[in-house]
Structures are given as C-alpha cells and as structure tokens.
Amino acid sequence: MKRWLIAAIVLLLGRRPRAAALRRERMVPPGPPDRGAELAVLALLLAATVCGAAFPVVYAVDSIPNQTQFLGLSLGLCLAFLAAASILIAKRLVVTEELEEDYPPPEHPTEQEALGQLVDESGDRFTRRRLIVVGAGAAGTALGVALLTPAASLGPAFHMDPFFRTPWRRGRLLVDEDGHPLLADDVEEETFYTAFPQGADREQLGAPLVVVRLPPAQLDLPSGRRDWAPRGILAYSKICTHAGCAIALYRKPTFPPTEPRPALVCPCHYSTFDPARGGDVIFGPAGRPLPQLPLLVDGSGRLRAAGNFSGAVGPSWWGVRNRSPYA
C-alpha cells in the first residue's frame, strides 16, 4: 500500500517537463518571481487539502467527541485556506497592469494568436506552475469529497441490520428506566411509560417501548392481534416511523365525550398514532403504523414480550417498509 502511494506521488509530481521543442518562444520576459508567496500559497493549499480530507474521517469515526463541531471546523477551515490561497495568488502572483491599446483588426489570425499569448504570459509569475496546479487540484478534490460525504446520511447504506434486528423475543422481560421489571398492576390508564428489554443494549433502534393502558372495551386492534394487549396494556416501538424521533407525547382525554381520542404523538413533526387501533397513523407525515409488540403477563404479574414487532422499527427508507423484523 505504502509503495503504491509513493509510486503514485512520484508519477504525479515527478513527471518530466514536456519537451522544450513543443514550447512556444516567449514574447514577454517572465515577471519577477516571488518565491515566498508561492511557498505560502502551496502551504495554504496543503492545509486546505488536509482539512478537506479530515472531514470524511471525522464523519466516519463516531467516537470523536463534539463531532458536529469538528465537522464544521474542518469544512470551514478548508474553505478559509482555499480563500486565503486565492487571495494570495491574486494579490502577489498575478501581475496586474493596465494597458490601453487599439483593438487590432480581426482579419490577422497570427496577430490574434500573438495577442492571446501576450495576455497569457503577462500574468505569468509562477516558477512552479505545475506544483501549484497539483496543489490546487488536491485541495479542490479534498473539498469535493468533503462536500459529498454527507450524502452517506441520506439513507442507511452499510448498516441495514438495526432496522430489522430487535432485541425482543418471546419471554423477554420489560423493564423501566431504572431496570425494574414492569408489573401489569402498576401500569395505569391515562398515563404512559417507557420500557426497555431486560439485559439488552438500550441504544438499539428496536429496544425502547412506549407502554400505555386503555380500557379493553375501547381496543380495536387488527385481526390477528386480539391477544397482544393483555388487560388492555399495549406496547409500541418508541421510535417514530417517520424520521426516527422518540414518541415522547401521549395525549389522553380527561373527558372523552368532548375531547380528542387517546394518541401517541411524535414531537418532531406531530405524527399521531392511535394506540387503540394497532398504531394507525391518524395525523402527520408518518407513512406506516407504529410497530406493536405483543405482550403477555407471566405468573408473577410481570410484563413480557410475546414475540417480535408487527413491522420494521425506526424511520422509513427505501425497502424498509414492508420487511419483517427478526430477533
């Protein structure tokens, strides 16, 4: 790998200049060289390259603290260094002179060409033009890669597993935030609880649940889910099927005849799900129901999962909607 890299650099930078015979004769002597400015430009381009290249690295390594700030810093510095290099080139390396001459008649192509060459060479003060071009190319490439990197966030491309693999399986105990088992008798109506699988990673997309209790007579679950809500206790994935926010809101009527029906609401874009009807969407941008987890009450009154979710957990991407989760 290292040898290949060195070979590539040598090929890129060490190519011999083109044969002198192909070069045109100079008409204007080159401007006085400014080695210091050229070196500074190269240093700035190198710094821009490093900063641009740092962006995808910071993006990929999740363990970096304050990742967002470092992402902004790397991209911002890359642009700042590029800007500084451009300013330096314009101020110190491009010859600026204003000449007023009559425009020559257009019928002499040779003269036209000569004029073009004249204009080209007038601005020439570079002694290492190739190196500067390579430096600018490297900085530009790094910036381009940095700008394209966030496209990886448009959808899951590499880790599709969390969308389908959940820690829930038949018999898995529901525990609260403090790790205590959730007892069926403790779950009251008109309020909501957050539950997790016992002994599993809570950060997994499929781990957190929102648990509510409704009068069994009010339930209208899809066929096939008749025994999924023992004593009217219902469990749904806490992750919204729209953009993956946590379902942190539960609305319940104090006086049902005049007030809206109970619903689980996502605070991000107000997707509203009906817990009594299997998590159906009754409002908002979510495109599919909230996945329901079947429950059972064991001999000592503790709540356990009776299987896996009714659908894939988490936000909806291409192809995620219709696949089933696995344990």
Binding site: E190, T191, Y193, A248, T254, P257, T258, A263, P267
Partner: protein, 256 residues
C-alpha cells in the same frame, strides 16, 4: 333528594341566563346569610355556576342524553382538582367543546374555597398538595422535566403543541398549580401517579420550572430562548457584515 330537587329548580331557571350571557361573563355570585358553612356556600355557588355541565356531582352528568354530555362527574376528584381548575381560571369554561385555557379568575378567594370545600365533600379524593420546591434540585428537575414534560411544554417550559391541543407555557404557574396539574392531567395531558413521580421529584421539577423563568444566558444573548433558527439568523447577519468587510479589504476600487 331535597338537594337534587333544588338543583333541578336552579338548573331549569338558569339556562336562559346562562345562554344569554355564558361564562366568563355570567358568573352567579350568591349572597348567603352570615354563619353559613363554607360547604353550604359552595353548594349554592355550584348550583349557580357548575351544575349545567357537571350535574349534581353525585349522580354524574346532569343532562340525560349522551350527546349532551358536557362535563365530567366531580365525585371523588377531591379538592386538588377543584382548586387547580378554579385557581387557574380554567373553569368556568366558555364552551364545553374547547380546551380550557388560563384566564382571569372570576371567583373571589372565598368563593373558590367554598366551591373546593363542596366538591371535596362529594366523595373521598386527594387534598390540595403542599410542594416544597426548596427541597428539590435544578439538575434533577432538568432530567425529570426532559423525560416527562419537555415533549409538549418544551425544554424551556414556554409551551408548545400536541395534535388537538395547546400545551400551555408554565411561566405563570404557581408551585401548587404545577403539582396539581401533574397529578390531575388536565385536558389531554397525561397524569402522573406518585409511583411515576414522587412528591420529592415534583419539588425538583418545580425548582427547574422556576429556574426557566430567569435562566442564565452564558452565551450572552438569549435571542428569545426560541432555539437554533433565530440564533442561526443572527449568526448569518453577523457573518454577512464580516464577509462584506473582507470583500472591502481584499477588493480594489476601479479607478476610471
């Protein structure tokens, strides 16, 4: 029985008045002879102002047809709920089909105490809580508020929305009102039992809510405490000035 008949008579006599000038314009202030018990005074006020929707309180909703149901029965709600709804001005509500909102309290303090005493006498229920915010800690309050309240009321307690209702800002809420609201769960808000939030934890939540009224703005500008969008706009405005300044420095005026 005598009470029910009396209430029925008042209920029949009042609709013309109530419909012509509904609450909050139509509060009925009753005068009672000196020496009347607080509960009896409350009973008379209840008959004048509450019975149309809440019924006799003992029998549940007064109106017979289900479609006319206007308010929940108050038996067993205790003085806690009555105190909350009356002190916040939630009751009397202008229409039974809108969300009760914080508004001017139309009853005097003595009238509220009388009504609370009457509602409490309808059946055993929770008493008015006595929170001690001094015992709570802001840090624990922030954690609990984030977990249980911020979804609707926003992290800075400035209120927000759920589908179908408004979560009110908490800036005007007293410590007792916050405790009562957590236990009652008014309108669409869930209620929280002592098992979910102990009295000590509520003390911390109140401490945090009081803290949000006068937050430390370490960054200097609060910019309305409304989050990253206005902060971003302000940053842009500053950045624009800086960018224009840089352009002026590196550019050169065209000399004709």
């Amino acid at each position: 029985m005598r009470h029910v008949l009396l209430l029925a008579a008042i209920g029949l006599a009042l609709p013309s008045l109530a419909l012509a000038d509904p609450p909050p314009g139509g509060i009925v202030h009753v005068s009672v002879p000196a020496g009347t018990s607080l509960r009896e005074y409350g009973y008379q006020l209840y008959g004048g102002n509450c019975v149309m929707c809440h019924g006799s309180g003992v029998r549940g909703v007064y109106r017979p047809a289900a479609s006319d149901e206007l308010g929940p029965r108050l038996r067993g709600v205790g003085s806690l709920a009555a105190d909350f709804y009356l002190r916040t001005g939630y009751m009397p509500v202008r229409s039974a089909h809108v969300q009760p909102r914080r508004s001017r309290v139309l009853f005097s303090d003595r009238e509220i105490r009388a009504l609370v005493a009457y509602v409490a006498s309808l059946g055993p229920g929770p008493a008015i809580p006595q929170p001690h915010p001094g015992r709570g800690t802001v840090a624990e309050g922030l954690t609990l508020f984030t977990r249980h309240c911020a979804g609707c009321h926003q992290i800075n307690a400035e209120g927000g929305y759920v589908t179908g209702a408004v979560a009110p800002p908490l800036g005007d809420s007293s410590a007792v009102e916050i405790t009562e609201a957590i236990r009652v769960g008014p309108y669409l808000m869930p209620r929280f039992s002592k098992r979910q939030l102990s009295d000590g934890e509520i003390d911390s939540i109140i401490r945090y809510v009081q803290h949000t009224k006068d937050p430390e703005d370490r960054g200097g500008w609060s910019i309305g405490h409304v989050g990253p969008v206005p902060e971003g706009i302000v940053t842009w405005l500053i950045a624009m000035v800086v960018l224009v300044a840089i352009c002026a420095v590196i550019g050169r005026r065209h000399e004709a």
